[in-house]
């Protein structure tokens, strides 16, 4: 269907570009020849765009563009339905045809948009993230490091303040969100297999429900261990995870990616790389105190 519409656009476009005068005269719009030619260019572009796109839902924007083009065409044709147009009958037929095509276009565009959303998969929902990194340590060492009380605080430092677990094993998270808001919640480990995986979940009543899993699997050759981090945010009000990003002021997949990189650096080197604060000729929070101490 999409390809059919694509070829239709190309065909119509070619006709409008090649013989605009003939078309215009047949509709009683002789003074609009140039407009017809321009419509032809637009049709050609849309047609080529439609034919060039592969993949589920990819043609969607081009199909919507066809709908837009149909609207323009209808407006143009309706202006030819004046009583003094000798070719009025032809124009009426053209209006009916374009109206019909518009309905087909809209149905096709809607379907393509749905396919696009489905095809994007879980990563299209920004509340759900998965990242993997290979770390040059054994799975047992990584598991021990992940369960170390200081680790979560250190690797999440860019994103939230995490207080190491107290007696009952619960960690407290505090995130400074946009507009002066503060999000807080508790989490605890709900499942673990030493050397293999850890799963944690936020406790009820927190500001930002979340759940995460980290899995460790030996990498091939001398490469160490593949660590896979999976995090899910479930903001109140639900719906798309885009709400999570809005609430927190930062994209969840950025957080997961950064946290995993920091975990890798911690595991391999014992420290997390940083350039905060350091010397610069700027008055911003990246700077150390602005007195020269060592002169």
């Amino acid at each position: 269907m999409e390809r059919g519409l694509g070829w239709f656009s190309v065909g119509l476009g070619l006709a409008e570009v090649a013989a605009p005068g003939l078309l215009a005269r047949s509709l009683g719009m002789e003074n609009r020849t140039e407009v017809v030619r321009l419509c032809g260019l637009r049709e050609l572009c849309t047609g080529i765009g439609l034919l060039a796109q592969r993949g589920p839902g990819k043609p969607a924007p081009w199909l919507w563009s066809r709908v837009g083009g149909d609207a323009l065409d209808l407006t143009l044709l309706l202006s030819a339905l004046t009583p003094d147009n000798p070719k009025r009958r032809n124009a009426e037929v053209a209006v009916a045809l374009v109206a019909g095509v518009t309905i087909v276009d809209m149905a096709a565009a809607k379907r393509a948009s749905e396919k696009q959303r489905e095809a994007a998969g879980p990563s299209a929902d920004p509340g759900e993230i998965q990242r993997s990194l290979t770390i040059l340590r054994s799975a047992e060492e990584l598991y021990e490091l992940w369960r170390d009380p200081q680790t979560m605080r250190r690797i999440m430092a860019d994103f939230a303040e995490v207080t190491p677990p107290n007696g009952d094993g619960r960690m407290h998270w505090r995130l400074n969100a946009p507009l002066g808001r503060r999000l807080e919640w508790d989490s605890q480990v709900v499942e673990e297999r030493p050397g293999e995986m850890v799963r944690w979940r936020s406790s009820d009543g927190g500001d930002l429900p979340m759940e995460g899993t980290v899995q460790f699997r030996t990498a091939p050759g001398d490469r160490g261990t593949e660590a896979k981090l999976h995090v899910h945010f479930d903001p109140p009000g639900g719906a798309f995870g885009g709400a999570a990003a809005k609430l927190m002021g930062v994209a969840p997949d950025m957080i997961a990616g950064k946290a995993l990189r920091r975990f890798k650096a911690l595991a391999e080197t014992g420290e997390v790389p940083t350039t905060y604060p350091q010397p610069a000729a700027r008055a911003d929070k990246d700077q150390a105190r602005s007195t020269s101490e060592r002169r």
């Binding site: 040059l136 080197t269 940083t274 610069a280």
Partner: protein, 389 residues
Amino acid sequence: MRALCWEGINDLRVQTVPDPKILNPHDAILRVTMSTTCGSDLHFIDGYIPTMRAGDVIGHEFMGVIEEVGPEVRKVKKGDRVVVPSFIVCGDCWYCKHQLYSLCDNTNPKPELQEPLLGYPTAGIYGYTHAFGGYAGAHAQYVRVPHADNDCFPVPEGVPDEQALFLSDAAPTGYMGADFCDIQPGDIVAVWGCGGVGLMAIQSAYLLGAERVIAIDRWPERLRLAEEQAGAETINYAEVDSVLEALREKTGGRGPDACIDAVGMEAHGTGIDYVYDRVKQELRMHTDRGEALRQAILACRKGGTLSILGVYGVMDKFPIGVIMNKGMTVRTAQQHGQKYLPRLLDHAAKGELNPSYLATHRFSLEDAPRAYKMFREKTDGCVRAVFTP
């Protein structure tokens, strides 16, 4: 302390900035005794490489004396005179263990700035944009050196500062370029660019056993250095009709066995290709001028090696078909300095490699903006401007 800062495109100023501090347990603080300009600085100074911020301290080729060490530093101590490669490496990741130091996984605190372009983060660099970590540079009185045990190389007694300084960047880069050529007895190596890196590549090629080295440039002072200091035969590309023909004739019709590009994205040239590149660069439609690289690809013998040291972004009209049809080997990287420094220090101590002639001009740090202008325009035969803070 005083430091040279980037304040905008082609706008360098010496400012007073806070002193660096120990932030991580493997850090050291270095009092900089000498630092130098490098050709690759020009690419971000004039805006071709993005992610600089106004106020950034620049400078990535330097040496100094250790003033302070963090609690986990074991191999170096306060008072040591050391030279430091431009790339910051952890020594513990897979890439460092395989001596691919400029690909270190763990020294870029801003991987999200590199991932969109490169797919993966690479090692941090001193004073070279936030995409490469945003570390404060070394055209300053003090600099923070992370992972000091890996990255500080003590300089032997008897090797003066001017000799050791260029082991921070120019020498290891040039040496790596020659190493990439896998030089066999009888090989002829051609080097494009007689700046700091090119001159070091020429000398390194001889150290690694090249039969002859042919250097290509247009600046008479640089060609003279290539000849007199580095021992190369030279071609002035502005004076010959065809560099390709000249190289072919000098190699018995075979072409050079290996070609080293030490020019990079701001190549000069003559002819229509250069004009094309220049226009597209001005329009920011692509970042590179590829004249030198294309010549190197065409000139190289069949089955030869192309060793790319020049820094590039993206370019048009890259003759990948020539590389394929001639069955060439391409080797390229940012310098893996930590791999080569021990042997370079050894060569220096034995008097076999003395790059001090690169320091054609000396300035105090306060005159650095003027120095960079002179360096860029190559006035007065300037090859490298060296700063003493």
